[in-house]
Subunit: 171 residues, 2 copies
DNA sequence: TCTATGTAGTTAGCCACCTAACTATTGTGC
DNA sequence: GCACAATAGTTAGGTGGCTAACTACATAGA
């Protein structure tokens, strides 16, 4: 079963490699490759949906951080850390969000190196327009799975994540 | 269990939304978000490893297509279709790969609009250096799962993929 | 106190993706 | 046979990610 002609060369390559490398398990690699392919499809799907609202994935991630605590301000460096991107990237995303009037920058009263960023009313309204649609689309991805299936899936995914060495020295 | 303070605001947002939108299932969204978070970690992990060999993910994908049938040539448009990226992006990636001497471009003998691209010996050798390490790293991601676990995981992932509407009109 | 070190944000420049528009060439229909 | 449409690849310009270097400011130590 699963006789995909297009992928047969990969399987042949894998099987040849696995003869030389005993630790390499062909079915593990194939599972991981499927995982990655579907993840890519999911990201594209979500990207396309957010694009209908004129929001990129990167901007959405920042807006979500703001929205969760829309009454308070965030330092750019704090946003970078929460979103898992660099401060330089945050600068660029904030430029775009500020240009659209979704967030605003104010200088910090005490420490003049810092900038306080805050979501505007327009930003809140934009998120209120996007979120129902966005989460509904995400929710529907799982509609082929039962509650029990999802519990199992979470367990498998967490075990995969546990194998990824977490970079401690992240400067 | 799973009492992550940082994510509580998301859960609160989700629960509020789910009251207004009956079709929205909170646990489905949370499962999908975990799936995406781990997928991102996996991609970063693989990226970091390929970077040690001076190869980006995009270039690796093209090289893998070449390597699977290293005796034949490919049209750039064919590479784009197989890799799931645009022709414009292929142009850029081929520029880099050609600059490094890993692939070569030749004009098509019959149709002068077309370009035949082919992997060089140096390209083959580079892939032979990268592949064992690369696939071993991918294989290890699954070492917390049994054969049976992986079968189940594949089934779940395929059911998620089945919910993604495939864009027919991809011009 | 003043120098050195550290910190926050930005800038510059690279990469890989995109869309839209352009060039060159081939194929088609009157 | 020639104008027009279709096709292949590239170019131009935008975005979001990165690292490295820079500016401005704050802080700690001799």
């Amino acid at each position: 079963m699963e006789f995909d002609l297009r992928d047969l060369p990969t399987r042949a390559t894998l099987q040849e490699l696995s003869r030389k490398i005993p630790e390499l398990d062909v079915s593990s690699v194939e599972t991981a490759l499927l995982f990655m392919r579907v993840a890519t499809n999911v990201f594209h799907h979500i990207h396309d949906n957010l694009a209908r609202f004129g929001i990129s994935q990167g901007k959405f991630n920042l807006l979500m951080i703001f929205y969760k605590e829309s009454d308070r301000s965030f330092l750019p460096s704090e946003l970078a850390e929460k979103a898992g991107i660099t401060r330089a990237t945050v600068t660029g995303l904030l430029d775009g969000l500020e240009r659209e009037g979704l967030v605003e920058r104010k200088s910090h009263p005490k420490d003049r190196r810092m900038i306080m960023t805050r979501m505007t009313q327009k930003g809140i309204e934009r998120m209120q327009a996007v979120l129902p649609d966005h989460f509904l689309l995400i929710s529907r991805l799982m509609q082929g799975l039962t509650e029990e299936d999802r519990r199992m899936l979470i367990s498998y995914i967490e075990r995969i994540d546990a194998e990824i060495p977490k970079a401690e020295g992240q400067q």
